[in-house]
């Protein structure tokens, strides 16, 4: 017995030793790791620095690449808007300003741009009309497969070239000399000045492009900049740093010396933590983090993104949603107010009664005033009546299970579960949720593999047509293949007419047909609330164009 006690005691001592070594070893390891992390962190500046005029921000996603003819996402457009400049650019108040072009004339079948002579690339050489010709040809060249090629279709031969029926050299754009750009238009375009501010119209210099050997836009050193900033550091997956471009023609306007996108994250809690620790100057808030911001007494700003979200319905004949009565029934049970104010609950979101968001301008004033939207009321009884008619027309006792395709994001996931419940309880419909990542969601929507898809559309240019042509039968983004000859005619009218009043009338007709046919069910216009460092001033948020825009921003010294 004494022996066994002895052994117990020695085991106990051994355990104590092990525990002590373990605890101290772990503490030491943590300390060493913290010290190592401090070495790398020490290069990070504060969120704002008034002396150096630098700002550190969070960007939701890293741009996949920055070749302006191929970019499609808002993160890329935001960065491109800071490092590049088109013929025209968006100013502080959201209006258009001269960019590389000093002046311009736009007629019925042609447009001419006179370029300023002091516009420079970041290597000091002048920006010429040839750079625009090269950039536009790259966008339209079918070999490059640009998703935004259609935005050039107003130019002569553009559509034919993109379909591969004409050589790319036949594109109706010509450099008369180094500083004059002539454009032949396929049809009259009332909004061509707004189009050329879009990134797909940015210049690309041919000799530099050739020197990158197919890696143009992939890294900081395979890009040439003509905008207010240039990328000084691009560590993929970690950081993107912009510094003031010394060769920019309008550099007196630019007060910030550097914009440091030091974090890529979409998560609101992470963004709020970075803001709280003074490591990021801006953080967007969700329904959870907004309460923290309120309790901390931080000033909160609100911003409407300009986009509109809607349920796209599949109009292919084999789908039950091709039945008008079923679409009406679905539309009649959705309470947009409840969806926005009680389910999504984020300030900045507004219920949307129409495909045309509230901020669009008509001929003389807001478009919404010129083409009013009939009020939408929830009417479950009428919806059930339409559902019965739909069942009769489809010749079924029960509507087959409907597939609702959504993007895997917290907001849309919640929205989808709410809608699933609404369709189940109010109409007795069986709805399955198909949650996919954004890219896959787009691919499945394009393939028509859905009954209902939660879609959104942000404006590309400042004209109602950027929304108005979405449901034209030829539009690639009309995923449900809605096809209506009358609507197509009105879209064509809006495209070619130069008379503002007539165009507004056409938009009114488009809105009426979409509502009558329930081509889509508009749900909400998303927005956001965010906190911004009080010393950071002059940041422009806008619906159309690069957002947020730091080109006019500065850091005040006073607190």
């Amino acid at each position: 017995m004494p022996e066994s006690n002895q052994s117990h005691r020695s085991v106990g001592r051994y355990l104590v030793q092990l525990a002590v070594v373990g605890v101290f070893g772990f503490a030491g390891l943590v300390w060493v790791l913290g010290w190592l992390a401090g070495l790398t962190e020490s290069t990070l500046a504060d969120a704002v620095d008034a002396d150096a005029q630098t700002v550190t921000i969070v960007v939701a996603e890293e741009p996949p690449q920055l070749d302006s003819s191929l970019s499609t996402d808002t993160s890329s457009f935001m960065v491109l808007g800071h490092v590049m400049e088109g013929l025209l650019r968006y100013g502080k108040d959201g209006g258009l300003e001269p960019g590389v072009a000093e002046r311009w004339e736009i007629g019925e079948d042609r447009a001419t741009f006179w370029l300023r002579r002091d516009a420079r690339w970041s290597d000091g050489r002048p920006v010429t009309a040839h750079d625009f010709v090269f950039g536009w040809r790259r966008t339209i060249d079918p070999a490059n497969g640009s998703s935004y090629a259609f935005i050039l279709y107003a130019i002569e031969n553009a559509e034919q070239i993109n379909l591969g029926k004409l050589p790319v050299e036949t594109l109706g754009v010509r450099a008369v000399d180094d500083f004059q750009l002539d454009v032949s238009l396929q049809r009259p375009v009332a909004y061509f000045d707004k189009l050329v501010a879009f990134p797909s119209y940015y210049p690309i210099r041919e000799d530099f492009f050739a020197s990158t050997r197919g890696r143009y836009g992939a890294d900081a050193d395979t890009l040439l900049y003509n905008g207010p900033f240039e990328i000084s550091k691009w560590i993929h997956g970690a950081r993107l740093r912009l510094e003031k471009n010394p060769h920019y023609w309008d550099k007196a306007r630019i007060r910030l010396q550097a914009i440091d996108a030091a974090y890529f994250t979409r998560d609101p809690s992470t963004q709020l933590n970075l803001y709280r620790e003074g490591r990021a100057a801006v953080a967007s808030l969700n329904v959870e983090t907004v309460e923290t911001a309120l309790r901390k007494r931080w000033p909160i700003s609100r911003f409407a993104s300009g986009a509109v979200f809607y349920l796209e319905l599949n109009h292919r004949p084999e789908r039950p949603t091709s039945n008008l009565h079923l679409r009406r029934a679905l539309s009649l049970v959705i309470d947009r107010d409840e969806l926005v104010y009680n389910v999504i609950r984020t300030a900045g979101f507004v219920p949307a009664p129409s495909l045309f968001p509230i901020w669009l301008q008509g001929a003389n004033g807001p478009l919404r005033n010129e083409i009013p939207v009939p009020p939408m009321k929830v009417d479950v009884d009428l919806a059930r009546h339409h559902l019965e008619l739909a069942k009769r027309e489809l010749g079924v006792d029960e509507i087959p299970r409907l597939m609702m395709l959504v993007t895997d994001s917290p907001t849309t996931a919640k929205e989808a579960e709410y809608l699933q419940n609404i369709f189940q309880t109010r109409l007795g419909l069986d709805v399955a949720i198909d949650k996919q990542i954004f890219k896959q969601r787009l691919a499945k929507a394009a393939a028509g593999d859905f009954d209902i898809v939660v879609s959104g559309w942000g404006p590309d240019y400042d004209d109602p047509l950027t929304f108005g042509d979405l449901f034209a039968s030829w539009n690639q983004n009309n995923h449900g293949k809605f096809s209506n000859a009358e609507l197509d005619r009105w879209v064509a009218t809006a495209q070619t007419s130069l008379d503002p009043g007539h165009r507004v009338f056409a938009f009114g007709q488009i809105q009426r047909i979409l509502a009558e046919e329930v081509a889509l069910i508009p749900t909400y216009e998303p927005g956001s609330v965010y906190v911004r460092h009080p010393l950071l001033q002059g940041v422009v948020r806008r619906a159309v164009g690069p957002d947020p825009d730091y080109t006019n921003a500065y850091i005040t010294g006073e607190s």
Partner: protein, 463 residues
């Protein structure tokens, strides 16, 4: 010590019925002994109670607590159980009654002359604000705060920008909860910059239900009249971000979690015992074949196969992935048990009592049923109890990443995933399912530990 010489007496037959060493205590079978020792282990007993309680709750829970786990109560979103549940019935759609008195800020003069006021009663349906228009402003921005604010402090959450063209009126509907809010309106100049703000006006929001809503919620008709006070349904563990009952979701979620957690190990341990004893007993080519196949299966990646099965079964998006999960778990997890059982069988095969039994002419069936299986049983049982928590974890993980159940079906893993989104303000939505996962896993682990101790013959001899 010298021995006495043997005598013929020593060789006479023993008398029948002579009790030499009477067994006074009742005989104890192997399982009775195990049970006795398990009960002696306090931790294991507690774990067993927890396991039984969980199984009972998931079996009879839906009968006792009949709330629909997917019913959304949007008037009680992300609420804790002790939150105020009172609501008043109002007629019509619940719009503010314009005949009701107008509430103004009391005390202190308003230098802007906006005279911000709340029209009618502030309810969870809407709060109607009105103010006087000024000639100098180009628009107004409406703010709402959850705390009283001092002068100069930020006004709170910007709700909307109201153009000058409209009336000085704004209806707030955003996520109104029954407590006090503080409203303010700031005038904007032509450039959109904020000018002086109005006085801050508090609004005590009361929760109301319209008559239609009250009917839809199934309140007794006698209770529904304007002005009546009702209590919204009670949620013993609170609600989630869509106002769904947490208790009902946890009970229904436990069915998925425990089903996978028990069914999958049960099946694959059976396969493991079968293949393992076959390999151990037969040996030779059969052993080689089975064990090499086992090595092959061990190398297969689980997640990939789970996805392959999902496609192979023709399970489209929006359909439950529970069946492919079960199949993938069963088909890919048996090698561990097989190796263990084979090892045990190889060891027991060489034991003396087995040899003796074989020499006495016992058939293979007898050897298997009376010697091999009972001796392997302990190991198998322990493996089974340890396999259950790992299967529950796998289910939770797969549902967390969205490979398991589909909405609105709950499972503990998918509830955790939902809970992470509201973790900062409403931690109960994450803590409850996470605690249940931890508790279940811990209980099965402790039980397995206790069983191993109870079944171990070597420990027995030390007592």
């Amino acid at each position: 010590m010298a021995r006495a010489p043997l005598s013929p007496l020593d060789f006479r037959p023993a008398e029948r019925g002579l009790q030499v060493d009477p067994i006074l205590r009742p005989s104890l079978s192997y399982w009775e002994d195990t049970w006795r020792r398990l009960r002696g282990n306090r931790r294991a007993t507690l774990a067993l109670v927890v396991v039984i309680a969980l199984l009972t709750a998931s079996a009879v829970g839906p009968v006792v607590w009949t709330v629909d786990p997917s019913a959304q109560d949007l008037d009680q979103v992300s609420k804790l159980p002790w939150a105020d549940r009172r609501a008043r019935i109002v007629d019509g759609a619940g719009a503010a009654d314009p005949s009701l008195p107008v509430a103004r800020a009391t005390g202190g003069s308003d230098p802007t002359g906006m005279d911000l006021r709340i029209v009618g009663e502030a309810t969870t349906k809407s709060v109607v604000l009105e103010w006087n228009l000024s000639d100098l402003a180009s628009g107004y921005r409406v703010y709402r705060h959850i705390d009283a604010i001092a002068g100069g402090e930020p006004l709170g959450l910007p709700l909307a920008e109201v153009p000058i063209a409209g009336p000085g009126r704004f209806i707030d509907r955003l996520n109104l909860q029954p407590h006090r809010y503080y409203y303010a309106v700031a005038a904007l100049d032509a450039a959109g910059e904020e000018q002086a703000a109005s006085t801050i006006i508090p609004a005590d929001v009361v929760r109301v239900l319209s008559e239609q809503e009250a009917i839809a919620r199934g309140f007794a008709a006698s209770k529904i009249f304007p002005g009546a006070e009702v209590e919204l349904p009670f949620h013993p563990l609170g609600t989630d971000a869509l106002g769904r009952d947490m208790l009902a979701r946890l009970i229904h979620g436990s069915r998925v979690s425990l089903f996978i957690g028990i069914a999958a190990p049960w099946f694959y341990v059976m396969i493991g015992v079968g293949l393992g004893s076959l390999a151990g007993l037969r040996g030779g080519a059969v052993d080689q074949l089975i064990m090499r196949f086992t090595d092959f299966v061990v190398a297969l990646p689980f997640l990939l196969f789970m996805i392959l099965f999902k496609i192979g079964f023709g399970i489209g998006p929006g359909e439950s992935g529970i069946l492919p999960m079960l199949v993938a778990l069963v088909l890919l997890s048996w090698p561990g048990t097989t190796r263990l059982v084979r090892g045990q069988v190889l060891q027991i095969r060489e034991e003396g009592y087995l040899e003796a039994s074989r020499l006495l002419g016992a058939p293979t069936r007898h050897l298997l049923l009376h010697h091999l299986v009972p001796n392997v049983m302990g190991v198998v049982l322990v493996t089974l109890t340890f396999a259950i928590p790992s299967a529950i974890f796998t289910e939770a993980f797969l549902s967390f990443i969205g490979m398991g159940v589909v909405p609105p079906t709950p499972s503990w893993g998918s509830m955790c995933n939902d809970g992470t989104k509201t973790m900062l303000m409403h931690p109960h939505e994450l803590v409850l399912p996470a605690t249940l996962i931890s508790l279940t896993v811990l209980a099965f682990n402790v039980l397995g530990d206790g069983l191993r101790d109870a079944l171990d013959a070597r420990l027995r001899s030390r007592e």
